[in-house]
Amino acid sequence: MELNAKIPGGSIQEKWDRYRFDLKLVNAANKRKYSVIMVGTGLAGASGAASLAELGYQVYCYSYHDSPRRAHSIAAQGGINAAKNYQNDGDSIYRLFYDTVKGGDFRAREANVYRLSQISLNIIDQCVAQGVPFAREYSGYLSNRSFGGAQVSRTFYARGQTGQQLLLGAYQALARQIGLGTVQMFPRTEMLDMILVNGRARGIVTRNLVTGEVRSHLADAVVLATGGYSNVFYLSTNAKACNTTAIWRAYRRGAGFANPCYTQIHPTCIPQSGDYQSKLTLMSESLRNDGRIWVPKQPGDTRTPPQIPESERDYYLERIYPSYGNLSPRDIASRRAKEAVDQGRGVGEMKNGVYLDFAEALKRLGNTVIGERYGNLFEMYERITGENPYEVPMRIYPAPHYTMGGLWVDYNLMSTIPGLYVIGEANFSDHGANRLGASALMQGLADGYFILPYTIGDYLAQGKFERIDSGHAEVRAVEDETRQRYQKLLSINGKRTVDSLHRELGKIVWDYCGMGRNDAGLKKALEQIPKLRDEFWHNVRVPGSGDSLNQALEKAGRVADFFEMAELLCRDALAREESCGGHFREESQTEDGEARRDDARFAHAAVWEFTGVDKAPTRHVEPLNFEYVKPATRSYK
């Protein structure tokens, strides 16, 4: 597997400009002769599909939802970063670049991150032009806030629903193109495999989720914008349908999978309340601005919060990190919460949370001010838990939230398969080993609106694309294989439901490849996962038939791929014998329990090549060079 990142030469400030000039253009009149498949309609997919159609390409767009607007980008709460420096507080493209490389714990590509920071400016302009109602000051100018511990205010937001508003902007741009006939939209259509012809990505195989029809769709290039794989943990903040199938199938067809072990655990989610729990709900991180995190000093303390005097409480973040306190970065806050719960100091009925207490802020600022800041979050919390945070402290616990790993892409966002592009959370992205708050929305839209439309043109302009149709041998082979796979799932007729197996898988991955990872645990997971996968393929029960709407069958197909993906996740975590960002290897920590990177051995992206289901994949590396931001140890004490 050849890994040529194609990073352009020149100074970092000039790379993207010069590169765009060097890219080949497709003549305006010829664009309609080229077709592109876009899988997924979240921020990256919807913005990419709309932008390509505006340029004149024929676009075919796919979503397993009933409408493109349902994509999980819609659930992002906090905001989107841009280096506008509207607050005159010293922000710049260079500072956003610097913060992102550092925040990613020096495991991202500098050139990509710089481009992302440059484009952040255009994104805000574009969204405002589309009518995204960002928060504004009384002056009428755009409002910003500081987010996730950033020292400048560069986050744009629309109440607690920024993802929704940005997605609706992109969705409306897409809807306009669908109305104009330049995008053909296939809702309730799930991609189940990739089609390669002569080594190039030329199509996909899909299943119509209403009729069950399995068929192929062909084009000159394929783009995957299918999001992350946090649901490998079963319980995560991702929507129920989020899955790894599209990128996993591409991996099986030859696309390199980079850094699967970089998963982000968000510190402020509502803890699990029982075995029936179907997903976890995130509470915006902004709550940590005024809430104080604590647990009882004594393990097994069953008293209610008011009964526990100040002297018997442990405000552990304030104690360990006096300068950042409750605003310590996500990975640190998460790990310390786990530590407290593991020590038996967890709170709530299931002893599986820590307190996030607003008592002190309420006394200082009053209910009105706190209500203005967090009213909607307090309501949401009360709706779910039945507890009123104005009266009793919230209970929170970390939950899987975002995956920085994904398919490897070069500077053009093209994977190791020619003609296969990967954008948004689905690629291994510009976040390195850890993503900063409010950067996911920025990356999704940068890829879709402003990078892919240029780089894909370069590929299309150079290629001669032989005509293929659904009768082509390669096409029929993949279609047949897919039909057989789904038939197999229906025919096992065992004793266990898909969810029960998925839960069990999730627990293994969470226990051994969650917030803390070690050699012995990962090896145990790598023994247990194949056994459970084997049980899945022999004992799963999928009722119903394949020729109608069958939600159990949809789930079964997705979970089958999670079983394989989980193994790669653990394998990558095992191979990376260092701690960095969201990946914490217990063997690699400092004396006081902080993550220890190993730049000498691991300053690279690990890229896995598929060699067969029961065979070990091959690990390749793309070395990372840091010319501008010199690797340093993060310190938040």
Binding site: S67, Q126, A175, P187, A239, T497
Partner: protein
């Protein structure tokens, strides 16, 4: 706390099947569960018996994606105001309750299976004009045009619509006016939305009619059912724009 319930659930194999209520016990339901988690538990039991699970639409389970939504005892999204089905928790039900669960009922939302309906008509309403035609790259500098905070806030009040379809299900005329007016208002209040303002409202209303939705007769059930608080005031605003366009030719060259 654990409670026992009796569910009467609409089961329908496909668009052409007649459909009927089927009664299922839901036993030992933890009151911390969400309504959809309760259905998950019932479905797990059905599947363990080899029966097909109840199909229902859902995804984010945080009340924002707009996928979920069923009639619960005749009310879209159930008894709690400002709450989508996924955010309704079982603590609002009592031991021994009977619950009737049905799909949205509207000609423009045909049932696909059980509780799943086809809401693509909403997408086609948006495709007909629910956007601002700003191609990627067209945009001027974001702060070049200040927008009064009150206007931006009001626009946001309308923009929060999640497109779930509860308004249609609640309306005796199965009208999509609340949904359509939310988009017309969101875009029509903003300066960027002015160039297409009158064209937009006419095209969206024409499409709404074509899809088979009824008109608004001011019942207000839509507002009561809306899980995110979209107001009927927006329908009044839509009607004003529509009248200005139809009667006074607003937006046409002669009116300039």
């Amino acid at each position: 706390m654990l409670i026992n319930l009796t569910l009467h659930v609409w089961r329908q194999k496909g668009p052409k099947d007649n459909g009927r209520f089927v009664t299922y016990p839901a036993l030992q339901i933890n009151t911390h569960m969400s309504f959809l988690e309760m259905l998950d538990v019932v479905n797990e039991q059905l599947m363990e018996k080899g029966e097909e699970p109840i199909a229902f639409e859902h995804d984010c389970r945080e009340g924002i994606c707009g996928s979920c939504g069923v009639m619960i005892n005749g009310l879209p999204h159930g008894p709690n105001p400002m709450t989508a089905t996924c955010q309704l928790h079982m603590r609002y039900f009592k031991d021994g309750d009977e619950i009737w669960i049905e799909p949205w009922r509207a000609k423009a939302f045909p049932v696909l299976r059980d509780l799943v309906v086809d809401r693509s008509a909403f997408d086609r309403i948006i495709q007909s004009g629910g956007f601002i035609s700003a191609n990627t790259g067209n945009a001027p500098e974001a702060n070049a045009m200040p927008i009064p905070k009150q206007i931006a806030d009001r626009s946001m009040d309308a923009a929060v619509c999640i497109g779930c379809g509860a308004c249609v299900a609640a309306c005796p005329n199965a009208s999509a006016m609340l949904f359509t007016s939310a988009k017309v208002t969101h875009l029509g209040l903003l300066p960027q939305g002015q160039p297409e303002r009158y064209e937009r409202v006419q095209r969206m209303i024409a499409r709404m009619d074509q899809e088979g939705f009824g008109n608004c007769s001011n019942h207000g059930s839509c507002e009561a059912a809306c899980p995110v608080g979209i107001k009927v005031d927006f329908i009044a605003r839509l009607n004003r724009d529509l009248l200005k366009a139809k009667l006074c030719g607003a937006g046409t060259p002669s009116a300039v």
